[in-house]
């Protein structure tokens, strides 16, 4: 599938902010066997005093900007043309959970896609015993790692209510789990926590989702916002598989990837300290338009 993607982030500040520095993760990149980026650009208003682009540890594109003079609103615009083509989900070749630990240990690597980075607790994902207990029910339901991930994905989809008001951008996995509500970020964190609790490496994927409903089907959640889902290491042979617990499905050619991380904090659209004492409000607008 070929898409034109446009993103606009807009922030208003009560009082002028100045002397700030931000990292922005909004631009998709070419990822073998997932997607190819034909063109992309990121722009800012006001124009930053400094700007540089680099790839972070996980290979995500980061735009670093600094503003020396004060401003009371900030616009970040991204546009890209991306072709997505994921391989078909094949046969389940993942190991049994009991054998996964042994397979992880044979990976003698700290490369960004090595499973080791995605096992420990991280900022948003505590290894919460309640979530682990919840995930363990998927363990009894299926024996392979992919099967467990699939089942957990479906159960979160079934058991949780999509609710944009229940959580904030700073909500941790355990808190979202307690109320069984939240948005894609929360669903993904809960699923990651559950999998890590069982010893299955799981990471956070930030990106976009095509939201035009196919005829006769319900409209997918996640419209008009950036999306998030989960990647799961299903053993040496199966490798990383992606699941979208917000929609109870595998990542498809409707999922366009911006970046990978241990959780939201590694790939938040914008990070950085604002030197302002007032409050701030933010809006985001996303368009994912299939081309041709």
């Amino acid at each position: 599938m070929l898409y034109d993607i446009r993103l606009q982030l807009h922030y208003d500040y009560d009082r002028a902010a100045g002397g700030s520095r931000h990292h922005v993760h909004v631009a998709p990149q070419t990822i073998p066997n997932v997607q190819r980026v034909i063109a992309s650009s990121v722009s800012f208003g006001p124009t930053p005093s400094e700007r540089s682009d680099f790839l972070d540890f996980f290979g995500n594109a980061v735009t670093s900007v600094a503003f020396r003079s004060a401003y009371d609103e900030l616009d970040i615009r991204m546009s890209a043309r991306v072709s997505v083509s994921r391989p078909e989900t094949g046969l389940d070749v993942s190991p049994k959970l009991a054998d996964l630990g042994g397979e992880i240990a044979t990976v003698r690597s700290l490369a960004p896609d090595a499973p080791h980075h995605f096992l420990a607790a991280s900022d948003f994902v505590d290894l919460d015993p309640a979530i682990t207990d919840y995930a363990r029910d998927s363990f009894s339901a299926a024996s392979s790692v992919t099967g467990i991930a699939n089942d957990l994905c479906d159960r979160i989809y079934a058991d949780f209510t999509y609710d944009g008001e229940a959580t904030t951008v700073a909500t941790k996995a355990a808190d979202a789990f307690a109320i069984r509500r939240g948005v894609c970020q929360d669903f993904s964190h809960v699923m990651i926590a559950g999998l890590r609790g069982l010893g299955i490496p799981a990471g956070y994927v930030s990106g976009f989702l095509r939201t035009i409903p196919p005829p006769g089907k319900e409209r997918l959640e996640g419209a008009d916002a950036m999306h998030a889902w989960v990647k799961v290491w299903c053993g040496q042979q199966a490798g990383w598989q992606e699941f979208d617990p917000t929609n109870g499905m595998r990542a498809s050619n409707d999922h366009i990837t911006v970046g990978y991380g241990r959780d939201y904090s590694d790939v938040a659209p914008i990070v950085g300290v604002l030197k302002t004492t007032g409050s701030q409000t933010g809006e985001q607008a996303v368009d994912v338009v299939p081309v041709g």
Binding site: R21, E50, S52, D56, S64, R108, S109, L119, V271, G272
Partner: protein, 802 residues
């Protein structure tokens, strides 16, 4: 010492009370005496001398050492249930003696170890060969919070990750040294080692001179030279980065900065522009090219490391990636302190150097390896068991690290269960019985477990080892009781030679060439604190003067309703000063604020200045609980004014007249000008009560001068003397004269003939007042003058503190 003394000493030794009463613990090695209770060779002379001094003389000398530490303001911060407090430095007066041939072996072993850690760090953040070869487990590294992904693949600008390391050593029962901990992130205590040395030699100067003890200064000089040469002066500068005055070892950061003559900065002093790390100074942004950090890496950059850090510098990681700054030590080096890493050192050493380490770590097993887990469970009782990822020293980690045999059966079963379920989270280490060293308990020597901290610094010629360090001495016989936080003591370490040693000082020899260093630049935050210190001190003085005049009148009349007294209360009330209290909270507050401001810039303060300020603060707090209004308060204010004058005199006579002093002086003159204009406006108004003019003269300390110069006392004569007189150091005009002078000498005050906004403002006010006549200065005009002077702060802050 004469030959006769030697003989006398020897004879005395035969029946030494100190040795006779010394009872080493059976089965535990002692530093001072052997298994037969005989003193070891290097201790013989030491014992005989202190024996000879006698208990009284020795106590007097130890008291002198303690007095030195108190006078220097040496403290460390302790955290307990009641919060944080400053404690006196717990000096154990007897140094730990180590023979210099033994020291040479320790030095060689630690140098080898430092090189090994450098190689491991370079590999973890670089090629990852150790992981690929199975010598380090990927999972252990990836799960450590000290593994900083933004630094992966970044080669430090000078090629080295480690520049300053510390090692904690303990001597085991067989007499050999073991490494208890490797401090690779931001080791503390080197400055305390210096202070221990100074204090100990105060007490034991004669024997120190006689015993051929290796000096410490050379080590620091070489490290400072290394920092300076890496910084590439004059284009770049080195600096020390501290978490700030609330850190437990801030005193030491300030001390080292002052000792080495290096800027002491906090995260907010720094900013990053176009990939370069810059310090905000009163002369604009200046590049920092070497940063000796004393804070943990995660806090160094809120943008890429811990977002909740309030003490970091956003963009620092980018500056490091851009290769514009050398970090001492590299961000991310903290992973080397991970306790479980110790379990892999023997294998890594063998693979990289082809031989085992000369100075091994305490035997360590990581329960993430099945064989290790079995070993730990099989030897549970003899193991110190703790968290695998902890970077604390086992003996400082008393909440989470436990000795297997110390657990009751429930705790034991629970821990074994957890180790079986999640081995990767646990490490077992052989519980070492540390050798004991002598410490005075009352008047007798007793053995206590001791550990030794040794420092290594990278220089262009390789690692330099500090010939000394500091020893931690336990407060009880418990091996875990040596941590400072739990009440252990610190002792100096004397590396003793049988030949005379080189006398070294921090100063280079003038024979090597005369060189005048560049004047340091003043960080904006330091300038701001100096200005506020000046303002608070002056505010305290002005308040005390008014209160003294008030209480003197109260004592005379004992009638608080007298109109003049009520009028003064009305004057002070809007400033939050309650004159009815003998020592108003506002006065205590302004003195505390002065101490706080000075405390932010300890590196710029002489110990004498700090001591005088602390004394002021202690005095006012004591007065607050004892002093009554009236005569009592009058005398209390006189004491405070005398102490303030003492502090001001100390600054005036001792502070080098550079930019820092100017900001302090500006703060004082600003405050005095404002206060004088305002009190003069109030007390010279038409409806001021009887006695107001006399009181004003007294507050303005100008009673005698006024009597000499004017035939009568009236509103105009007062305004003439206290507002307009250029020779009266209390007059408003005098303050403006000083302000005009100091402001015109600030950096960039008169660049290319154009005055800075602050210089223009002060010139305008100065000129206005210079042309005024007493009749022009109505109370309204005086109040407006006070406001104008206060406005100078804003233009100065904008120009220099932003």
């Amino acid at each position: 010492m004469t030959r006769g003394n030697h003989i006398k000493a020897k004879r005395k030794l035969a029946s030494s009370p100190l040795l006779d009463s010394y009872r080493p613990i059976p089965g535990v090695l002692d530093e001072m005496v052997d298994a037969q209770g005989q003193p070891r060779p290097i201790w013989k002379r030491f014992i005989s001398v202190i024996e000879e001094l006698g208990a009284d003389e020795l106590q007097a000398r130890f008291a002198r050492a303690d007095q030195y530490l108190r006078d220097s303001g040496v403290y460390y911060r302790v955290y307990d249930r009641d919060g944080a407090s400053e404690r006196e430095w717990p000096l154990a007066h007897v140094p730990l003696l180590v023979d210099d041939t033994e020291w040479a072996a320790i030095s060689a072993g630690l140098t080898e170890r430092a090189d090994l850690f450098e190689a491991i760090c370079a590999d973890i953040y670089g090629a990852n060969r150790l992981v690929a070869d199975g010598l380090l487990p990927a999972g252990l590294i990836a799960s450590s919070p000290e593994y900083l992904r933004p630094l992966v693949g970044v080669t430090p600008v000078g090629g080295h990750f480690l520049h300053f390391c510390a090692f904690d050593l303990g001597r085991g029962p067989d007499g050999g040294w073991w490494v208890l901990g490797d401090r690779m992130q931001a080791p503390s205590g080197a400055g305390f080692a210096l202070e221990n040395r100074v204090a100990t030699t105060r007490a034991l100067s004669d024997i120190y001179g006689e015993m051929h003890v290796h000096r410490l200064a050379g080590f620091f000089r070489r490290f400072r030279d290394a920092l300076t040469s890496m910084a590439g002066e004059p284009a770049g500068r080195p600096a020390i980065l501290t978490p700030g005055p609330l850190n437990e070892t801030y005193y030491e950061h300030a001390y080292i900065a002052r000792y080495l003559g290096v800027m002491l900065l906090e995260g907010e002093d720094l900013t990053v522009t176009n990939g370069k790390l810059m310090v905000r100074t009163v002369s604009g942004l200046k590049p920092i090219t070497v940063l000796w950090r004393r804070l943990d890496a995660a806090f160094a950059d809120p943008l890429e490391l811990r977002p909740d850090s309030r003490i970091g510098t956003p963009g620092l990681t980018e500056a490091i990636r851009a290769g514009s700054v050398t970090m001492v030590n590299a961000l991310g080096s903290g992973i080397l302190e991970t306790r479980a890493m110790t379990a892999f050192l023997p294998g890594v050493a063998q693979a990289l150097t082809g031989k085992p380490l000369d100075l091994p770590s305490v035997a360590t097993w990581w329960c993430g390896r099945e064989t290790d887990r079995q070993t730990v469970l099989a030897n549970f009782d003899r193991m110190m068991i703790g968290p695998a990822l902890s970077t604390r020293l086992p003996f400082e980690d008393d909440n989470t690290t436990v000795l297997g045999s110390s657990l009751d059966s429930d705790a034991r079963a629970s821990l074994i269960r957890r180790i079986k379920a999640d081995g990767a989270a646990f490490v077992g280490q052989e519980a070492v019985t540390l050798a004991t060293a002598p410490v005075f308990v009352g008047r007798t020597l007793e053995p206590r477990p001791a550990s030794l901290r040794v420092y290594l610094a990278r220089t262009p010629d390789g690692w330099a080892v500090m010939p000394g360090g500091f020893a931690r001495i336990g407060f009880s016989l418990d091996n875990t009781a040596i941590a400072m936080q739990r009440g252990g003591q610190a002792a100096d370490v004397w590396v003793v030679s049988d030949k005379p040693v080189k006398q070294e000082s921090l100063l280079p020899n003038e024979r090597d060439g005369f060189k005048r260093n560049l004047p340091g630049t003043l960080p904006s935050r330091a300038a701001e604190n100096l200005m506020w210190l000046g303002r608070y001190i002056e505010r305290s003085e002005d308040t005390a003067r008014i209160l003294r005049a008030y209480h003197a009148r109260l004592a005379e009349t004992s009638d608080p309703d007298m109109p003049l007294l009520a009028d003064i209360r009305d004057y002070l009330e809007p400033y939050g000063i309650d004159a009815e209290a003998a020592i108003p909270d506002a006065l205590i507050g302004s003195l505390d604020s002065a101490v706080f401001s000075a405390g932010q810039i300890r590196d710029r303060f002489s110990p004498d200045g700090w001591l005088a300020l602390r004394d002021l603060s202690k005095t006012v707090h004591r007065f607050a609980t004892q002093v009554h209004p009236g005569d009592d308060a009058t005398r209390a204010m006189t004491v405070l004014l005398r102490k303030i004058a003492g502090f001001s005199g100390l600054l005036g006579e001792n502070m080098y007249r550079f930019t820092g002093w100017r900001f302090l002086e500006i703060g004082r003159r600003l405050e005095r000008g404002i206060q004088m204009a305002r009190s003069l406006a109030w007390l010279t108004r038409d409806d001021a009560p009887d006695g107001a003019l006399d009181m004003m003269l007294e507050i303005g300390d100008s009673v005698m001068t006024h009597r000499r110069q004017y035939a009568y006392a009236g509103r105009r004569s007062l305004v003439d003397l206290l507002a307009l007189d250029p020779l009266n150091p209390r007059s408003v005009f005098f303050q403006l004269d000083r302000l005009k002078h100091e402001i015109s000498h600030l950096p960039e005050a008169g660049e290319r003939g154009h005055l800075s906004p602050a210089a223009k403002d002060v010139l305008r006010i100065h000129t206005g007042l210079a042309t005024d006549e007493p009749g022009d200065l109505s109370p309204e005009a005086l109040n407006a003058l006070g406001d104008d002077i206060a406005g100078l702060y804003t233009s100065l802050a904008k120009a220099y503190f932003a």
